[in-house]
Symmetry: C2
Subunit: 319 residues, 2 copies
């Protein structure tokens, strides 16, 4: 079914990926450029333009009905602008307007990358079939998005689901966001590694001090490495339970590098969830690893474009 063909853009601090995605979620063409993240705004936009030009050279392009963009945040979907933390040249950059212009006026939908990953997991991943879900990426940072009542809940600015920056420890360590005790400040990969090192964990001969190395030590029985993952799991559990208690969700889907630790993370997470998700209506909550992996950004951008075309959400949308 190609009547629902859309162009998808996944814009991050490292790469700009593009694809043509059909109504069944098949990637019919993929394009990728490195993000010139330290350059000025127009140089970054030129890289986006190259990705779009390569997609537009496809014989399928005339069938493209809309463009979906998932971008590193913050985004402002109501204004159609993006301000990715890792792309300093773009601050309040009018990406929606520029992409619309570059594609001859196609409708353009914009969501944050956490929302995009959520759209992907709801469409083709572990949240498929769930009407109420939280999907998260736990890696260098912690991001997320929500499905409520069967549809993506983006919020007016496209930033809903920012679980990494809710405080689960109101007297906790300051977070670069300005808050304290944020989920990300406890559960991200770099903080899992930092905490392990501070408590005496030492890397192997390869000198690898990433969360993946801490996970390997935990798997081998190292108590300090295990304790650091337990602490991360506890913060994630408190945040997931808070989300379920506030909006009612049935599943929390977790992707990203830290989720790759597997049971080192998921076992204490399930245990801690029982401690924080206590009210009757949240006790049946389950957690599951994400399934869409590296395609999540593109798939989710395509899903957001499709949802926006059908008028089901408040993403930024010109058309």
């Amino acid at each position: 079914m190609q009547s629902d063909l859309v162009a998808a853009l996944d814009i991050g601090g490292t790469k700009i990926a593009g694809a043509l995605v059909d109504g069944a979620g098949r990637m019919l063409l993929r394009v990728r450029r490195p993000t010139p993240a330290r350059e000025d705004a127009e140089t970054v936009m030129a890289a986006v333009g190259e990705v779009l030009a390569e997609l537009a050279a496809s014989p399928l392009w005339p069938e493209v009905a809309a463009v979906g963009i998932g971008s590193a945040g913050p985004v402002d979907a109501s204004a159609g602008t993006v301000s990715p933390v890792n792309v300093p040249g773009w601050r309040g950059y009018p990406l929606v307007e520029r992409v619309a212009a570059a594609t001859g006026g196609l409708p353009v939908a914009l969501v944050g990358d956490g929302v995009a990953m959520t759209a992907a997991e709801h469409w083709k991943g572990a949240a498929r079939g769930y009407d109420n879900a939280l999907c998260m990426v736990v890696s260098t940072g912690v991001g997320g998005g929500l499905v409520l009542g069967g549809h993506l809940h983006t919020g007016p600015t496209g930033n809903a689901g920012h679980i990494g920056h809710i405080s689960v420890d109101l007297d906790g360590d300051p977070c670069p966001c300005g808050g304290r005790g944020c989920v990300e400040r406890i559960a991200s990969g770099p903080h899992i590694a930092r905490r392990a090192l501070e408590n005496g964990w030492r890397p192997g001969p390869d000198g690898d001090t990433t969360a993946a190395a801490v996970a390997a030590s935990a798997r081998a029985g190292d108590p300090v490495a295990t304790a650091s993952f337990d602490r991360a799991a506890r913060a994630l559990a408190a945040g997931i339970a808070a989300t379920a208690t506030l909006v009612e969700i049935d599943i929390a889907v977790i992707g990203g590098g830290v989720a790759g630790a597997g049971e080192v993370l998921f076992a204490p997470l399930r245990r801690s969830l029982r401690e924080y998700a206590t009210l009757s209506f949240v006790r049946r909550l389950t957690v599951a690893p994400a399934l869409t992996g590296g395609d999540a950004g593109l798939l989710g951008a395509a899903a957001a474009a499709t949802e926006a075309r059908h008028g089901r959400q408040a993403v930024s949308y010109t058309g």
Copy 2:
């Protein structure tokens, strides 16, 4: 406009209130009975039946199109049952079915009391005109509800918005719900008073040790009383900021006895919110006192019945 006439029930541990409410939110008849909270299930139901019978004796009754119920929680709107903590005789009690039977088969909508208060504030109170709002009651407990995208967000079981039982202090004191560091465990009236007493505050000659007495001392400059309210405000701010960060809200409306402390609560709350609501899309968040007061339960039950009739939410609904 009486074509939208509904019957409203507000069921709590102390009283069962009923009203006929027209489409403009006017209370055309009010009825009230004490809740026989320690009695068996059928005795409690008999009191509800008396309230309904008194409403049904009105010459307006034939115009009633639906019944809305706001009940102390937990409720299960999907099953049509209620299990109010303070009414032990009702556990999984099929209230929707019983009220439908008692009213000759009228459609019945059920929501929790936090959701009902939210519906009232969105219809006639401080959240009017806001498409995205959190409304809370801070008194003996802490409850709440959400308006998202212009409509009440009840969740599948009618319990969404339970902000009192999200953890803002993952290592904090155990809460009777089974969790730790819940907002309610820090910010409810009894805990404001407990903390003040534990830290050396002493009541006046009248021996009043309620949060209202602590508020009076704080207003008079007592530092321990002030510190206890500051701590409550901090927990509320962390919870409100978490909610805004997760679902994007523009306003938090606060009612209940503790909100009656006025600036003793609201001044430190606004200060603390700046500390926890840090991301660009939540910085414009405001807080305001609730306006619907004692009528919130009845007004909100009526609003929920009206929303359900128009198919806009997933409250329990037989008809």
